[in-house]
């Protein structure tokens, strides 16, 4: 029996290798493919910029944060957005959380928790999805979530049951 396709904008073989835990029933597409912004921008609702501390300096990165692919740099970048480090990804009433994935300490991806506890992710140049768990995107491409941050959830966000942005 063949698996239903993931339809994420890359080949099925590649998608299944990159996200071996992802199942069609565990996520929903919430945007078309758009290479104008990425996961790190998506978690702070910025769809006009690509956030990343690339050494070539093509992309946006908060000026007060180190421009290096380190967890410390990401923590500093999101501190500019009023996020502070926390211990877990568990849903906490009144707080919006983000999870930073890394491989060998090098950040690879950022996801943001939605009001109901699901997560929203922008997959690089590809689509936005909401997914049931952080483990859905764990694997050889993104590694695992290793750093969690939170900030008080804005009032308008708490009134949305399943908003994604």
């Amino acid at each position: 029996m063949t698996n239903p396709p993931l339809n994420l904008g890359i080949s099925e073989v590649q998608a299944r290798q990159q996200w071996p835990n992802l199942r069609p029933e565990s996520f929903n597409e919430t945007s078309p493919v758009d290479d104008s912004y990425n996961c790190a921008a998506h978690v702070v609702d910025d769809s006009d910029n690509w956030w990343w501390p690339d050494q070539r300096r093509y992309h946006y990165w908060p000026s007060t944060a180190p421009r290096s692919e380190t967890l410390a740099a990401f923590e500093a970048a999101y501190a500019t957005q009023t996020y502070a480090r926390c211990d877990t990804s568990d849903l906490e009433d009144g707080f919006e959380k983000i999870a930073i994935y890394a491989i060998d300490g090098v950040p690879t991806h950022v996801a943001r928790q939605l009001v109901g506890g699901r997560w929203t992710s922008k997959l690089g140049d590809l689509k936005d999805i909401d997914h049931a768990t952080l483990d859905d995107l764990a694997g050889p491409l993104y590694g695992h979530p290793v750093l969690f941050m939170r900030r008080p959830r804005a009032q308008e966000n708490t009134q949305q049951a399943t908003g994604t942005r």
């Binding site: 290479d35 996961c39 910029n49 690509w50 070539r56 093509y58 946006y60 140049d125 491409l141």
Partner: protein, 147 residues
């Protein structure tokens, strides 16, 4: 696009097309998009795909597939397919620009490395992926590399 005219007997599968063509066969590693038969002709015209375009397309497909889900530009630009495209040099500029136009992606480092220039951003434009793409595509049209 180069074309080649063959006797009508040259019909059949792609494999057969390859076997029929003689002469400079070493440059045939693309795919054929023909045959096209003209109604009043006794010949079949084969349109041979541009080998360099095919090589670019193979590398670009690999690169997109492997890195489109990544955010790190450094990881994208260090992918072996991307490096091999840069090695192909200015002869693939047109294909890079077409891919940027048609499929998007972070071709900016390759374009800069290949041309040695940075395109003029539109006045007042915020530097981001959209404006960078717009500037490169405008440059490509100015250079006659894009329609």
């Amino acid at each position: 696009m180069t074309t080649r005219t063959l006797p009508r007997r040259a019909t059949g599968t792609r494999t057969q097309y390859r076997s029929v063509i003689s002469g400079n066969a070493s440059d045939i590693h693309g795919v054929f998009s023909g045959p096209a038969v003209s109604p009043d002709s006794s010949v079949v015209t084969f349109r041979r795909a541009d080998p360099l375009r095919e090589q670019f397309r193979t590398l670009a497909d690999w690169w997109h597939d492997a890195t489109d889900a990544l955010s790190s530009l450094d990881a994208k630009a260090e992918h072996p397919a991307y490096r091999r495209i840069i090695v192909l040099g200015p002869s693939v500029l047109r294909y890079i620009l077409e891919d940027l136009r048609d499929r998007g992606g972070h071709w900016f480092a390759a374009l800069e490395e290949t041309t040695g220039i940075q395109p003029q951003m539109p006045a007042g434009a915020t530097p981001n992926v959209r404006s960078e793409r717009h500037a490169w595509l405008a440059w490509g049209r100015e250079q006659g590399l894009l329609d």
